[in-house]
């Protein structure tokens, strides 16, 4: 069956450092992959989408890579700030002919001063 894996352990880093989160998937050949941010008690908010023919995508301090051979995406936050503390979710469409998104369990990031 299709599976999306994110590190369930929280990632704790110091302010100013680069945070790197990992998303691995199996039994998928997605056309693209998305990253969302979720704050406690809130719904997820879309951050970035990267397509299968894109190796890297950037948005301000965020960078996403997509390796379809390794079946992995990396999500980087450079110059991290305490306000970046949240849970980050990766998501894939189940198949090309559906609009349904399947989410990973998310990785909680804690940035401390």
């Amino acid at each position: 069956s299709q599976k999306i894996e994110q590190n369930s352990e929280a990632l704790n880093i110091q302010e100013g450092k680069t945070a790197t989160l990992t998303c691995n998937y199996t039994n998928y050949s997605p056309a693209y992959l998305q990253w969302y941010r979720q704050d406690p008690g809130r719904g997820p908010v879309f951050l970035l989408l990267i397509r299968e023919n894109e190796k890297e995508k950037r948005k301000e301090r965020l960078k996403v890579t997509f390796d379809t051979t390794l079946k992995q995406s990396l999500f980087h936050i450079t110059a991290s700030q305490p306000a970046d503390s949240a849970t980050y979710l990766c998501a894939l469409k189940r198949s090309y002919n559906t609009d349904k998104l399947i989410f990973g369990t998310g990785t909680r990031l804690q940035v401390f001063p």
């Binding site: 979710l89 609009d99 349904k100 989410f103």
Partner: protein, 112 residues
Amino acid sequence: SQTIHQWPATLVQPVGSPLSLECTVEGTSNPNLYWYRQAAGRGLQLLFYSVGIGQISSEVPQNLSASRPQDRQFILSSKKLLLSDSGFYLCAWSIRGGNTIYFGEGSWLTVV
């Protein structure tokens, strides 16, 4: 601009009682609508998916049902709640054929 609202935000219900969570989307037409559940410490689980009025796809067998009486209205229901129904319920929408899903504020359900 498009907005999505769901209510109530929080509710505590006894086992065996009924449930109704409501969600409406404004500023768009013919959206795809979704109900997700997020149990404590777990990921988002897709419960129901709708591409139009009266068209509901159930993703997992469960004690819940969904209805879409109007184009931009999505309702999650249960006739008799179980303890295992507790969780954070999220309504969401997307443009037909679109890539991004937009979530509501969520509803916390505690079944006691």
